[in-house]
């Protein structure tokens, strides 16, 4: 897009509709995405001359096709251009080649300022078959406009082919369209419409997308075409008639139903492209008028399809009254533009009419090639009269959808339409799912094919059998103590017989409050042997919680190790192991009437709300779980299993009992040992542990321990469960413990520990699946109507089968709420509702996506905290990460990230995160912790995370000249005094209009290739500077040669540094000189604090001359220098002349030759500080300190404030050195002219005079007085004056 200073006559502003397109194009000027195209297949021989004549005639009649469009000082304008070469090609191609040619042409962007906004081709593909192809920029034409053009073209060709005159133009004028638009925007209706939409979306409904994420529009779209078969099409139209709607309305309702189920939302907003011409003169004007109407619908499973369709009819009717208000305006009003956010989900673009045209009697079929840019998904529906049924094209943004995903969505939608066409429209929507019949069978049956016969045993039976078989094998070890199977069995039997006397029997409960020890193992086994179910009471739990559990469960007794273990047992009889004499009891198995249906244990879990609840797990459930585990992982007698999970957490159940059932050894960790990574590493090594379990967050901590790698020797398998396992943790595991298998398991306490399993493979990427169902277990991923979700679609996870718990102890209502009838299983079976969000992968594994009830919604955006956590965890400086939404001040919800890692720097982390995640997903604060607070069972304790302090450090100063230039240009574009380097453009009130201006200005100033799109992605000066530096050669801001603007066709200008050695001050010239004028700064050696400073000014000049010649080998040269830089520039000029080169410009900015300085004292540090300050364009009275100067620079937003201490030191040395060089320099004669700028305000050094140059300038010295002090010369207003003079010299 070229900027034209003076547009031609007859110019018009753009309509609001066109402006939207204009800014969309400005996002990416080279993008062909705004192209629209179609071809008409004409079934006859075509006379290309007559057709060409018809096209020329129609193009002349349609004002919109005659315009050129460009940005101007008051925004974009359009004007009528003089007739240009007519863009028509006549080709003779085979059909494939013709299609390829059209596709290639469609990929070419228009230059709206310089060429017609359309292009035609007539392609002969057969004797009696021609394609008429046209491509038009969307900014001048919409779909209805196409139909007007096609109709008129058919009419004109038909007349011309018959030798007749086509008659007068049927079209209205573009000016009318512009006037109608302007009148509307000035009307009361406009204001009323704005209010209507602001109110309709005031609550910022969730942005819905089938892709589950957003991206900037791509330059192309991916299209997949399909047809709803004619029979279904007819039936669907009949359904429409029966509910007094049109078929497009029925189709929109069906899409709303699909989107609702696929995205788990009842609040669906679809976008409906509308022709926008009802009751308007625009009905006869080909142009860009169409608008997108947001249609907001509530889709609930209990409504009927007829009701949903009625909602569509009435919704469109209501919205239509406000349909002239632009979609882009609604987005802007809602503040969505700056965030690059959509307002609607998929667009449903229904084209209900065929053209039904004839060309000189020949039939023609229309084929759309592009309906315009695709942000996310556009469903284009055509009702062609070709007898093939409705054509339903899915156009998607390829950045968001893979081919297979589009295909799946489209096939399911067609399948759904087919079912709706034959279903009773008055049936409830809950009867319809979105999975196809094939997908249903797959997710319900194939993925759940887990039936496996198991014997009717209990948890404890196989342990007793094992004790009989291998009595002398070591059963359990703790430190130096150990028990054989016979010893363990005997002790447990004695205790069991004692417990039986206290009422512990099948169906009864016994609480166990014993710290991890051999006694704990004996006690748990004893309870089971007595036939009872054990209730673990973690002695670390708060007393109130323990008391609550005892009261709630009312066990027959509570067993403790010592007398005062529990503060209050609420009247429950205690069995204290310390000092208990059981020698009178028999050591053989006690008698009991235990069946697999009796409860084995009760474990309390905390719900998200309310009080903890006891989950009652029967023997059959845990027996199935352990039988599956043995079949899958094959524990052997040589295995040693670490017991480190607290007994109140159900993972401990397999730790305790799996090894004892299989004859392996159970190694008990010290109490508290599970939280000490070094202890664990040592124990695994010393105790030769082969099998253990970690909660993922603890695994991450463990892997970071110094001794973790030593665990690789003995370990044969490691299990993870209890939390989502981040891929990064799995990758770390494989790195630290190569060769050790890692298994990810999942399951709630309500389904006997684990119900899914997945073996992690080294080198895999993406989320770690929780895997497939275990034996005799079924998984269902269901949508909100309880219908199965197809693979890839998130839904709530339900569990069914052998491992379900009986329910919650004494809580029948809660049990009925969570354990519901299983509609997909055998009659009378139940399924457990997990509250977890999950989806099937295509090959039958399940991915965990978070909690349904922990979903975070911030300002209407659904945020997956897991995604942010994964992004944080992927950073090299981060070991572990957690993210949550805090509301530390009422109503002020903020995203806060927590990380561990000694090198983690919150600020840098946020910057890197901003490069990976949308702005709204970047935590406002990141807190670095020494360690994560963990709950007693080893999970992250979110409630214990500290609140961040929001004060933080003040905004940092610009660090580079580029950042300084950008902050200045941002401020200028926004009309602000100052902008921080990290302030986002759109947060400061930037609009897309201002953005377009800023981008133009940035391109001119920096010669940088960037678009509004760049600005959306990198909205702050700092981010943009990083982006620009990334793109170009990494320019070293402290290098000798500083390319301020390396591009441009003109002879470069070389600007030599003032006393401080930095040339950043010259960046102010960039915006003031022609964009084609390259500018290079020459900077002092030694700024990085390395290397020697030059010994003479002549040495320095020789060095700089060589640097200049490395950029521009031969003259004419252009030199400029301020202060000391002027003296050096003159010396460089002398050297270049000596080499036989021409110097066409020597500009001296208030620079005085050495003679004037000789004899003056060499400056001390205070003077050097002043020089630094002056280099930034400031001065300060009184004594100067380094801190004071830095504070001033920071306050004034100077990039110099960002200099490191080391550079600052170097600058001060350079100032002192330059002062010495100046005094020692013998100025030589330059035999050319000089351009001089005098800082003309009265100054202290009143002896300084430009006349001193007379002996050393052979030509003339042209002076310009600038009314300011020496140090003020590089301030913006002064630079304006200087640049004006320079511009005349820099042609």
């Amino acid at each position: 897009m070229t900027t034209l200073a003076e547009p031609a006559a007859h110019e018009l502003p753009l309509t609001a509709a066109q402006s939207g397109m204009w800014y969309a194009q400005a996002l990416d000027p080279e993008s062909p995405a705004q192209n629209t195209a179609e071809y008409l297949e004409i079934h006859a021989a075509v006379d290309p001359h007559a057709f060409g004549e018809a096209l020329r005639r129609v193009a002349a009649e349609a004002d919109a096709l005659r315009v050129r469009i460009a940005d101007g000082p008051d925004g974009p304008r359009q004007w009528y251009a003089a007739p240009a070469a007519f863009p028509l090609e006549v080709l003779d191609l085979a059909e494939d080649a013709a299609l390829a040619w059209m596709r290639a042409d469609l990929a070419r962007p228009f230059d709206l300022a310089a060429e017609p906004p359309f292009r035609h081709a007539l392609i002969r593909v057969g004797e009696r078959r021609w394609f008429w192809y046209q491509r038009v920029h969307h900014i001048v034409m919409d779909g209805y406009g196409y139909s007007l053009l096609a109709r008129r073209t058919a009419e004109a060709y038909t007349a011309l082919a018959a030798g007749a005159d086509p008659g007068p133009s049927p079209f209205g004028s573009l000016a009318d369209l512009v006037a109608e638009d302007a009148a509307y925007r000035a009307s009361d209706a406009f204001a009323a419409d704005r209010e209507h939409w602001a109110a309709a979306f005031a609550d910022h409904p969730e942005v819905i997308t089938l892709a589950g994420r957003t991206a900037l529009p791509s330059r192309t779209f991916l299209r997949r075409s399909a047809h709803l078969d004619p029979e279904a099409t007819d039936k669907l139209k009949a359904v429409a008639g029966s509910v007094r709607a049109t078929w497009p309305e029925v189709l929109i309702a069906a899409q709303a139903l699909y989107v609702s189920r696929a995205t788990r939302t009842t609040d669906v907003v679809l976008g409906l492209p509308m022709m926008g011409r009802m009751g308007s003169a625009a009905l006869r004007i080909p142009g860009m008028v169409m608008n997108v109407l947001p249609l907001r619908l509530t889709v609930t499973p209990d409504a009927t399809f007829a009701e949903l369709t009625r909602q569509v009819v009435l919704g469109i009717r209501a919205a239509r009254k406000h349909q002239r208000y632009r979609y882009e305006d609604i987005r802007r009003d809602l503040g969505l533009l700056g965030e690059g956010r959509a307002l609607t989900g998929p667009l449903v673009n229904v084209m209900p009419f065929d053209y039904d045209l004839t060309f000189a009697g020949a039939r023609a079929d229309a084929h759309n090639l592009s309906a315009g840019p695709v942000e996310d998904l556009t469903v284009n529906v055509y009702d062609r009269t070709d007898g093939r049924g409705l054509r339903i094209d899915y156009d998607v943004n390829p950045a968001l959808y893979a081919d297979a995903e589009v295909a799946a969505h489209q096939e399911r939608f067609l399948d759904l339409l087919g079912r709706l066409a034959v279903a009773d429209p008055h049936a409830r929507l809950s009867e319809h799912g979105i999975a196809t019949e094939l997908e249903r069978a797959e997710v319900l049956l194939k993925f759940n094919d887990t039936a496996r016969p198991v014997p009717p045993t209990t948890l404890v039976g196989p342990i007793e059998a094992r004790a009989m078989r291998t009595p002398h094998a070591t059963a359990v070890v703790h430190g130096l103590d150990a028990l054989t199977y016979a010893q363990l069995d005997a002790r447990a039997n004695q205790l069991a017989r004692h417990l039986a006397t206290l009422g512990v029997r099948p169906g009864a409960l016994a609480a166990v409050a014993v710290p991890r020890s051999l006694d704990l193992v004996v006690t748990l086994l004893a309870v089971l042997k007595a036939g009872g179910a054990y209730l673990p009471l973690d002695p670390d739990y708060p007393a109130a919680r323990l008391a609550y559990m005892l009261e709630d469960a009312a066990p027959a007794c509570v067993i403790t190790d010592v007398a005062d273990r529990l503060p209050d047992t609420a009247g429950v009889p205690q069995v204290v192991l310390d000092g208990l004499d059981l020698s009178a009891y028999l050591t053989i198995n006690p008698p009991r009437a235990l069946t697999p249906q009796h409860p084995a244990y009760v474990i309390y879990t905390s719900g998200s709300t309310g009080r903890p609840k006891g989950v009652v797990v029967p023997h059959s459930a845990i027996d199935n779980r352990l039988r599956w585990m043995q079949a899958e992982y094959g524990l052997e007698p040589s295995d040693r299993v670490l017991q480190k999970t607290p007994s109140g957490f159900d993972v401990s159940v397999w730790e305790f009992f799996w090894p004892l059932r299989e004859g392996a050894t159970l190694v008990v960790a010290d109490p508290g040992g599970h939280q000490d990574p070094d202890y664990l590493a040592r124990t695994i090594r010393e105790q030769a542990i082969t099998t253990c379990h970690f909660v993922p967050s603890m695994l991450q901590v463990f892997l970071g321990a110094a001794e973790a790698a030593g665990a690789a020797g003995p370990l044969r398998r490691v299990f993870c469960s209890g939390e989502a396992l981040p891929r990064e943790t799995a990758a770390d595991f494989h790195r630290v413990l190569p060769g050790v298998p890692l298994h990810n398991l999942y399951g709630p306490t309500e389904a006997a520990v684990d119900v899914t399993y997945h073996a992690c493979e080294p080198g895999s990427s993406g989320p770690v699946p929780i895997g497939r169902p275990v034996w005799n277990t079924r998984l269902y991923v269901l949508d909100e109507a309880g219908q199965p979700c197809p693979p890839g679609v998130p839904g709530e996870l339900y569990l069914a089968g052998a491992q379900l718990a009986d329910g919650y102890l004494g809580r029948p209502e809660l049990t009925d709420e969570r354990f519901v009838p299983d509609p997909y299983g055998p009659l009378g079976t139940r399924m457990y509702r997990t509250g977890d969000l999950a989806r099937w992968t295509a090959d039958g594994e399940v991915e965990y996506l978070g909690r349904t009830d922990h979903q975070v919604k911030l300002r209407g955006l659904r945020i997956e905290l897991g995604e942010i956590e994964a992004a944080l965890a992927a950073d090299d400086t981060v070991n572990g990460a957690g993210v949550l939404v805090r509301e530390d001040r009422p109503g002020d919800q903020r995203l806060v990230g927590y990380v561990t890692g000694s090198d983690a720097d919150p600020k840098a982390l946020r910057e890197r995160l901003a490069a990976r995640l949308p702005e709204y997903m970047v935590p406002g604060a990141i807190v670095v912790l020494d360690a994560f607070p963990l709950s007693p069972n080893g999970k992250l304790d979110r409630k214990a995370l500290p609140a961040p302090s929001y004060e933080g450090a003040a905004a940092r100063a610009p660090r580079t000249p580029l950042e300084e230039t950008l902050t200045r240009l941002f401020a200028e574009a926004l009309g602000l005094d100052r902008v921080g380097v990290e302030d986002a453009f759109f947060d400061l009130g930037g609009t897309s209009l201002l953005a377009a201006r800023l981008v133009t200005r940035l391109r001119e100033t920096l010669g940088a290739e960037l678009t509004i799109g760049t600005l959306f992605q990198a909205p702050s000066p700092a981010a943009l500077a990083a982006r620009l530096e990334e793109g170009g050669a990494a320019d070293d801001a402290l290098g000798v040669l500083l390319p301020l603007r390396a591009t441009g066709s003109r002879t470069p200008l070389f600007a030599l540094h003032p006393a401080g050695g930095l040339s950043w001050c010259y960046s102010a010239l960039l915006a003031r000189l022609d964009p084609e004028q390259p500018v290079y700064g020459l900077q002092a050696r030694g700024l990085t604090g390395v290397g020697e400073l030059p010994r003479t000014l002549e040495d320095m000049a020789a060095d700089y001359a060589a640097q200049i010649r490395s950029v521009q080998p031969h003259g004419p040269y252009r030199l400029l220098g301020w202060s000391v830089g002027g003296v050096v520039a003159q010396a460089v000029a002398v050297r270049l002349r000596e080499a036989g080169e021409r110097v066409e410009l020597l500009a001296l900015l208030d620079a005085y030759p050495s003679d004037q300085w000789r004899g003056l004292a060499v400056p001390v540090e205070a003077d050097a500080l002043r020089a630094l300050l002056r280099m930034a364009g400031f001065d300060q009275e009184g004594e100067l300190t380094t801190e004071g100067v830095l504070a001033t620079l920071r306050r004034e937003g100077s990039a110099l404030a960002g200099l490191s201490q080391r550079t600052l030191r170097a600058v001060l040395d350079i100032v002192v050195n330059n002062a010495r060089l100046m005094r020692e320099h013998d100025t030589r004669v330059f035999d050319g002219d000089a351009l001089f700028f005098t800082a003309a305000a009265p100054r202290e050094e009143d002896w300084l005079t430009r006349k001193a140059w007379a002996p050393y300038i052979g030509g003339t010295l042209e002076n310009h007085d600038i009314d300011c002090l020496h140090q003020e010369l590089t301030q913006p207003e002064r630079m304006d004056e200087i640049a004006e003079v320079l511009r005349a010299r820099l042609r």
Binding site: A245, L314, P352
Partner: protein, 76 residues
């Protein structure tokens, strides 16, 4: 058979799912839910049954029964 204003109202009411009495003759029918698809279906019906020759743009430009009557050859 030529169209009558009453027949126009009845047909419009039919495509809108309303009662003929609720269809005004002098108001913008867009506010009552008339859209391009419904205009086309009316036009097809009237072309077939009454030999009407008006175009889509003719009807869409002034969407009111009163404005349509002369174009549709309907007597008041």
């Amino acid at each position: 058979m030529p169209l009558t204003v009453e027949q126009i109202r009845a047909d419009v009411a039919d495509v809108l799912g309303e009662e003929p009495d609720d269809i005004p003759v002098d108001e913008n029918l867009v506010d009552y839910g008339l859209d391009s698809v419904r205009i086309m279906s009316l036009l097809e019906r009237w072309r077939r049954d009454h030999g009407v020759e008006a175009s889509f743009a003719d009807l869409a430009e002034q969407p009111a029964v009163e404005a349509w009557a002369p174009m549709l050859g309907a007597a008041a």
